[in-house]
């Protein structure tokens, strides 16, 4: 079993931390093999940012993601750029307010940024998304993500992050049905 996950968005949206925590949970607490890679660029700042996680029950030789089984897109640019390389049948998780999927797309969506702002900190949109991911994909146990969070974020931010994770996870449990995008306009005020 080899699964490829890509999480992509703007620089500053914290996709790297999300991928790191996910990979750590898989590699250290799920007893699986996991490897995380990033694509850098001098243009990385402000531009696109993405993180890739490969997980397997076997040692992983080739560490890169070629055809994601799961694509998490936190920005339109990320979605447009990475959707084509994902498997047609890939699970697509979107930041609902920032991404307008293509016609015919079957996808899951959460307004992670808005929820984060409601929590008082835009910065945790990534962890909210991670919670959502955990609920939707069931690839990793939520307690293992929490464990990974504990050893990955500064202690003064831990509580906030745990809350954000729960929020996203709960949201995911409650909104686990995929959407089909046909033609309707995205809501305003994104």
């Amino acid at each position: 079993m080899r699964k490829e996950i890509r999480i992509a968005g703007f620089g500053g949206q914290g996709v790297v931390l999300a991928g790191f925590v996910l990979g750590k949970a898989l590699a250290l607490y799920e007893g699986l093999e996991a490897v995380m890679t990033q694509s850098y660029g001098p243009e990385a700042r402000g531009g696109a940012s993405s993180v890739n996680v490969v997980v397997s029950d076997q040692p992983i030789a080739y560490p890169f993601v070629q055809q994601p089984d799961v694509l998490v897109a936190l920005s339109q640019e990320a979605y447009v750029r990475f959707r084509p390389s994902a498997k047609p049948e890939a699970q697509i998780l979107l930041e609902q307010d920032l991404v307008l999927p293509q016609p015919g797309e079957v996808y899951f969506a959460i307004p992670a940024t808005r929820l984060a702002e409601e929590m008082g900190n835009r910065m945790v949109a990534n962890v909210i998304m991670l919670g959502y991911f955990t609920a939707i994909t069931a690839m990793v146990k939520p307690q293992n993500i929490v464990k990974a969070l504990q050893s990955s974020v500064k202690s003064r931010f831990l509580e906030l992050n745990e809350k954000a994770f729960s929020l996203g996870y709960t949201y995911g449990l409650e909104n686990a049905q995929p959407h089909l995008y046909s033609d309707e306009k995205v809501e305003e005020g994104q």
Binding site: P42, R45, G46, P88, E188
Partner: protein, 300 residues
């Protein structure tokens, strides 16, 4: 490929707006200075709030006003965010190796003295790895124009401290605060022998244009230091919210020097302290300029 998406899709949000048309700024496709930049490479790679673009615009403007044909202007950069300027100016432009812009520029200038050769680069490029060339070029007083973006850190590689970082400031290689004291550029360049040295900040756009223009007319080694926001590399770690805040800070704290005395420790810059930032022209003098020796005109 499963589904081809075109660039058009990416613009969907721009054309979908909540603001009244009357509030929309008239959109256009070109900028008045586009002839001087490689507009096809815009947007550039610099972060939102980065000051380099502001300074580059001043440079473009000064070139336009210089009365010297752009074809005779040459820009040479080293490596760094600031060093990317060479890639964005529609001039003969050389993006060299880290630290070596100055000697490359010297070779260019001496080989073709008709050219107006400007070195546009960063504090790390010019004063860390390139420090030796900087002091020797100033000592020789060779006729090149240096514009130095001082953003108090190595922006390109991710916010490490460098030789202009204030003591105590944070950086990715100084998690406990920078243990080193910074250079004072005007003092250093004065001691080496530069003909002209001024310092401004990215908010001093008029003065920058003026001094760049002046430097084109001033033979010898000229050096313009520009304090410039790097919100991502420096601001973030040092309690400066964004580029705007740093620009504000420059607006509020800048004090024009009067006597040009470059030695004062007052000149030290520490953005975190409530300390005036002295700006202005520190050196403007006429020392002999380096020229290649001509022994006899070639017998052509």
């Amino acid at each position: 490929m499963w589904l081809h998406m075109d660039e058009g899709m990416m613009n969907s949000h721009t054309t979908n707006s909540a603001i009244a048309t009357s509030q929309r700024i008239q959109e256009t496709g070109a900028h008045p200075l586009d002839a001087l930049i490689r507009a096809e490479r815009m947007p550039h790679i610099w972060c939102p709030g980065c000051g380099i673009g502001i300074v580059m615009r001043c440079y473009a403007r000064a070139i336009l006003d210089s009365g010297i044909a752009p074809a005779k202007h040459v820009v040479v950069s080293g490596i760094g965010c600031s060093g990317r300027v060479a890639g964005y100016m529609r001039l003969d432009s050389y993006h060299t190796t880290h630290g070596r812009a100055i000697p490359f520029a010297i070779g260019l200038k001496l080989a073709n003295p008709e050219l107006m050769v400007t070195v546009f680069s960063g504090d790390g490029d010019l004063a860390a790895i390139g420090g030796n060339h900087l002091i020797h070029a100033a000592r020789r007083n060779v006729d090149i124009k240096v514009i130095c973006i001082n953003n108090f850190n190595y922006g390109m590689t991710g916010g490490q401290v460098g030789p202009t970082t204030p003591q105590g400031a944070y950086g990715t290689t100084a998690p406990y605060g920078n243990p080193e004291l910074p250079f004072n550029f005007p003092y250093l360049l004065a001691a080496c022998g530069a003909n002209f040295v001024s310092r401004w900040t990215a908010i001093h756009v008029r003065q920058l244009e003026e001094d760049m223009l002046y430097s084109f007319s001033k033979p010898g080694f000229t050096f313009i230091e520009v304090l410039s926001p790097c919100p991502v590399g420096f601001g973030k770690s040092n309690g400066i919210e964004d580029g705007l805040e740093e620009m504000e800070l420059y607006r509020q704290r800048s004090v024009l020097i009067q006597d040009g005395d470059v030695r004062s420790d007052e000149l030290a810059i520490d953005l975190r302290a409530e300390h005036p930032i002295y700006v202005g022209r520190f050196v403007n003098r006429e020392r002999p300029i380096f020229r290649a020796i001509v022994k006899e005109t070639p017998a052509t």
